[in-house]
Amino acid sequence: MASTVIPATPAPTTNYLNNGHSLKSWLLTTDHKRIAMLYLLSVTAFFFLGGFFAMLIRLELLTPEGDLMQADTYNKVFTMHGMIMVFFFLIPVVPAVLGNFLVPLMVGAKDLAFPRINLLSWYLYVIAGALFLHCMLNGGVDTGWTFYTPYSTVGSNTNVIEAGLAVFIAGFSSIFTGLNFIVTVHRMRAPGMTWDRLPLFIWANYATALIMILGTPVVAITIVLVAVERVFHLGIFDPALGGDPLLFQHLFWFYSHPAVYIMILPSMGVISELIACFARKRIFGYKQIALSSIAIAVIGFLVWAHHMFVAGISLYAAMIFSFLTFFVGVPSAVKVFNWTATLYKGSITYATPMLYAFGFIGLFTIGGLTGLFLATLGIDVHVTDTYFVVAHFHYVMVGGVLMGFLGGMHFWWPKISGRMYPEGWARLSALFVFVGFNLTFFPQFILGYVGMPRRYWQYPPEFQVLNVLSTAGSSVLAVGYLLPMIYFLWSLRYGPIATDNPWNAAGLEWKTTSPPPTFNFDETPVVTWEAYNYDEIPDVPLEVPVAR
């Protein structure tokens, strides 16, 4: 037709990535999406640093003798691994990267409620990280990530105070993220985005944020007291001076047990999004999954003393905490059953994010069920401080959190970068992660059950076969983690250009451009539909979706 005007190449649109290229435009940004990217870079750096220490641990444990390092060095290495992974990776990773990027998009807001506090939270993270690196280069810490007294106050001659200060500051970064999420969810939702239309990722991050603001201050003051006790030789936690180390453990675990839910809940939110999208079904039991997140946050605050069953608490207290620990399994199981029910008769696509979601369900189920073993008083006495515990929490934290994070990164990568990742490589790396993970940690259940204690640099020779398997698995796992970093970077330049909604997914974040403009939506969206209305949306495109 003569009248048709064929547009030349479409005019390049302004989005959050190309809106300013200077370093200053990144370092002084208040755009939640850019801050998410700053977090992505920094948590990835800490992840590989923590992974480096993990490899040192696995290499030392390749042989029964302590031939790679001395006992003191080994103590520092596992402490560095634990502190980095817990405080600088697992706690911030999903909320501060995916949450930061997605919460405003998903509720239809232009930004988080307090963009400058959001930026401040990243700077606090960086300051804390720098302090921790300084502490590490000056000899590190050897208390274990738990800072147990009296060793941390009178025993250890390492940099406990500096490490504690780093954790204290990182805690405030986490508090500010949580505060921002709660206010944003309450006050910034788009018209029509009612509470029962919120995506489950939002519910999960909301529950996480509650734990962040209620729990983190307690660990902050606890660490202050440890530092003060160390400097001024007070006796707050020192039995020789009238204090009580058990009080330290109570205060520490009052935060640090719920912190496990800070790690896992956002990943559970990711899984709900992935399952619904790649099964093309309205999620089964929306309300139950949403409320189970809140239930986990609430009950999670009532189970902390199960870390102290052998520490000398009364039998009756132990029984109550044992019961409550079983009870927190209920909302977790509610989620798993609802995800499985969503899959039933779904039209399932095995795209990479879905592979990670399947991996999550399997690994989290094993991690969760072994948690019930540990909640049982008799079994806990048998396996306390063994590799059984190590395997259990790695199944939840690594098998759970990392599977959720990587699944989410693949799912939202087109939105984040505007490019598609290479699907073949991504599936391969998902396979590496799953196989490598199980090979690394499943032998540790057996090792722990037959009596190998944690935190030793040597072990009897009969444990060697399982330890070699575990070390071999960790190498496979490392490849599985390096691959995504390489191909994500590759795709930034060479990946096919993504459409606005390559998965035909529901959710407001897919209704804006890829990558989104700085203020997310050209017009404030008005929501008239429920979340996961997949019966009204066409299927996932069979071919890798590419803008033409």
Partner: protein, 227 residues
Amino acid sequence: MEHEAHNPALLHHFADAQQQKNAASLGMWLFLVTEIMFFGGMFCAYLIYRLAHFNAFAAASQQLNIWMGAINTAVLIVSSVTVVLAVKAAEQGKRKLLTGYLVVTVLLGLTFLVVKGFEYKEKFEKHHVPGASFNFTEKFDDNGKQIPVNPKEAELFFSLYFAMTGMHALHMIIGCGLFGTLAVLAWKGHFTPGYFTPIENAGLYWHLVDIIWIYLFPLLYLISRHS
């Protein structure tokens, strides 16, 4: 057109001033929750050790200067009143009155800190500061019977006393800085009846710091004095 003029205090990502105000207010309340949890750890430690080492804690508690504590309590309660009056003045757009109340609040806060300083000085002189020079010979008075107490346990009381009141004083110092800044901004006409959220939120903070003292005073100074 003119009445549609853009409010300079309205940030771009909010739909309107009301939404911005609601968000800031909720954010402040949540921050106060974190403060309560922060102090809660120390209150928890104090209560547990008070039960565990009752005699020593009661004897040590009676060494605190109840008059200085009472004066400071009164000072803080009055300062909370001036904060409320400042918020009201801001609501009514009375710039000079607002600045005046903010300045008075800062002065009351500084009064508190000075009195606290004298109290700490007294502790140094009586060797009641935990550390190498700590010395405690006072006995627990059990209906006239003088029971000696373990000085280590009394030292624990003073450790917690300094941790709690020190952390509270730090919050007072931050509060004085905050209100001083607000006083300067108020004098420059930064706040209008349509926009005085910072005054309100800083006021919430000040009240919380007050309330923490209202709990500290009886717990540390008073509850061991009944006969």
